[in-house]
C-alpha cells in the first residue's frame, strides 16, 4: 500500500544541518493501523510531512498504492491521504460555516457546483455520528466551536471520502481528557468501518499498544523498533520503556510521554 524506501530529509538550522529523517524505510499493508511513538524531535511528524508532501524528501522514494508520489505536490496527494494535526484549528476554516467546511472537504462535483440536498443529507448523517449536536448547527461558523468539536469536525472532513491513508498526528493531545477519549473512540470506529489504512502518532503508551495492529518507535530520524502480532500482544507499557532505553541508550524521560 504505502512503500517508503530509504528516505532522508535534512534541515539547516543556522550553520548546522540536522538530519530529521535518516534513511527511513517502511512498508505498510492495506488495512494496517500503525501506532508511532518516540520522543520529541525523533522525526515522527517529519515522517508524516514527508508522506503528506509538506516538503519533498532529499532522497529515497515514496509510493502509494503502486504509484510513485515522491515528487507529487501536497494538494494532489491529499486526494488519497487524509491528515489530522495536534492543533484542532488547523483542519478547518474558522470564518466559514460547518456546512461550507464539509462541502469543501467532500469536494464532489464541478468547480461551479453548489451544495445539493443530497450532499446536505450525507453531511448530516456523518456529523450526527459524533453525537455532539453539530448537525443542528450547520449554519454556524466553525470559529465558534470548541477545540474538541473542531477536531471532531476535521475527522469527519478528512474521512468523508475515505482516504487510502489516514495520518493522525497526536490528534487528541491538545484536547481535554473527555474530548480526547471521545475523538479516539470515533476515530477507531471510522477506521474499522472503512477498513482504513492508518498511521497514528501518539504520546500515550497505552493507546499505542491497544489501538491498531502494529507499533513502531522512532529515534533520531530512524525507525528503531517495529512490532506486530504476538510479539506486540505480549508487550506492556513497561516493556516499551525498557526497549526504548535499550535502543537509544537513554531513559524516555520526556514529561509528555504518558505512561498510563
Amino acid at each position: 500500500m504505502l512503500k517508503i524506501d530509504n528516505i532522508t530529509k535534512s534541515f539547516s538550522v543556522g550553520t548546522e544541518t540536522r538530519r530529521a529523517l535518516d534513511g527511513v524505510s517502511l512498508n505498510v499493508k492495506k488495512g494496517d493501523f500503525i501506532t508511532i511513538i518516540g520522543a520529541n524531535g525523533a522525526g515522527k511528524s517529519t515522517l508524516f510531512n514527508a508522506i503528506a508532501g509538506s516538503f519533498i524528501t532529499d532522497s529515497g522514494t515514496i509510493s502509494l498504492d503502486g504509484r510513485d508520489i515522491t515528487l507529487m505536490s501536497e494538494y494532489k496527494r491529499a486526494h488519497s491521504i487524509g491528515r489530522l494535526f495536534q492543533d484542532p484549528m488547523r483542519g478547518s476554516a474558522p470564518g466559514m460555516t460547518i456546512e461550507e467546511n464539509l462541502a469543501l472537504a467532500a469536494g464532489s462535483g464541478k468547480w461551479l457546483s453548489r451544495v445539493s440536498k443530497r450532499d446536505r443529507e450525507l453531511f448530516r448523517e456523518k456529523v450526527s455520528m459524533l453525537g455532539m449536536g453539530l448537525e443542528d448547527r450547520f449554519d454556524q461558523s466553525v470559529g465558534g466551536l470548541s477545540g474538541g468539536q473542531r477536531q471532531a469536525l476535521t475527522l469527519i472532513m478528512a474521512t468523508i471520502n475515505p482516504p487510502k491513508l489516514l495520518l493522525l498526528d497526536e490528534h487528541t493531545a491538545a484536547l481535554d481528557p473527555g474530548a480526547a477519549e471521545k475523538i479516539l473512540r470515533v476515530t477507531d470506529s471510522i477506521i474499522r468501518e472503512h477498513n482504513l489504512t492508518c498511521l497514528m502518532i501518539t504520546h500515550n503508551m497505552q493507546s499505542a499498544l491497544e489501538l491498531g495492529n502494529r507499533t513502531i518507535m522512532m529515534d533520531k530520524g530512524k525507525i528503531v523498533m517495529d512490532v506486530s502480532g504476538d510479539e506486540r500482544a505480549a508487550l506492556t507499557v513497561n516493556d516499551l520503556l525498557l526497549r526504548f532505553r535499550e535502543i537509544s541508550g537513554k531513559a524516555l524521560d520526556n514529561d509528555r510521554m504518558l505512561l498510563i
Binding site: 505536490s73 501536497e74 494538494y75 494532489k76 491529499a78 486526494h79 487524509g82 491528515r83 488547523r90 483542519g91 478547518s92 476554516a93 474558522p94 470564518g95 466559514m96 461550507e100 467546511n101 462541502a103 469543501l104 472537504a105 469536494g107 462535483g109 464541478k110 468547480w111 461551479l112 457546483s113 453548489r114 451544495v115 472532513m157 478528512a158
Partner: protein
Amino acid sequence: MGLDQILALLQTALELGLISSLTVLALFLSYSMLNVCDLSTDGCFTLGAVVGAAVAISGHPYLSIPAAMLAGVASGFITAILQTKMGVNSLLAGIIVNTGLYSVNIAIMGGSSILNMNKADTVFTAVKSALARINMSEQYKLVVAAAAVVIIAVLLGLFLKTRLGLAIRATGDNPDMVRSSSINPVFTTIIGLCVANSFTALSGCLLAQAQKSVNIDIGGGMVTIALASLLIGNVFLGKKKMPLRIAGMVLGAFVFRLVYTIALRFNMPAFMLKLVSSVIVVAAISIPYIKQQLPLIKRRLESRKREGNANA
C-alpha cells in the same frame, strides 16, 4: 438648501457610490476573502478606465465593458502569478504591477495622459437616449451604475456559494485546509485576483464613461477609498450572512460618498478626499485594535500609579 438640491446631492452620491462600489466588491473578494491586500487596484482602475475609453472612442460603446473587464483579468493574473509562482511578496507584487500599469495606461491613451469622450458614444449615452423616451434621461447614470452593481453583486453572491467560491474564501481563512481538500491555493488565488480585478476595471471603465473623460490619475488612491468604504460596510453588515455582507459593501461605498459629498457642501476642499479616506481606514482598523489593548494599558497605568504611591 432646498429639497431639489438635497435630492441632487443624494443622486450624485448614489451614482458615484454605486460605481465605486464595484471596486469595493473587488476588495471584498481580494482583501476580505483571499486575505491579499491588492495594491495594484489604483493602476487596474485606471487601466479599466483607459481601455474602456479607448474602445468606446473607437466606436464600440458596448464592447468597452467586456474589454475593460478582460484587461482587469489580465492585470489580476499578472499580480497573482508574481506572488504565487515567482516568489514576489504579495504587497510588492501589487506595487510593481501598479507602477508598470502607469506606462501601459499612457501607452493605451496613445502617449497622452488625457482622453476625452465628449463626442464618443458610451454605454451611458446609449442608455440616456433610451431613457429620453420615458422622460427619465436625468437618471441615466444612476440606471447604468445600479444595473452594473446589481448584476455583479448577484453574480458574486452566487459565485461565493459554489465550490470554487468556497475554496477562495477558505484560501484566506486557512490555506492548509484548502490543500487538504485537494485544492491548490495557488489556483484559487489566481482565480480570485482575476475576478476581483475585472470588477475594479469595470468600476474604472464606468467612472470614466460617466464623466466623459479619463486622465492618468483617475485611479489614484482608489485602494484606500475602497478600503474605507469596505470597512464602513463591515461596521453595518460585516457579521451577517454572505448576501447581506455583499449588500453592506455597496452600502459602505454609498455612505462614504454621502459623507464626502456633504463635507464638500460644507466647503471642504475637494482635494481633501484622499486624506479623509486615509483617516477612515486608519480609524476603522485601529480602533478595534486599540480597544482590545485598552484594558492592558489601563492596568499598566494603574500599576505604575500604585508604584509611584508606594515610593512616595
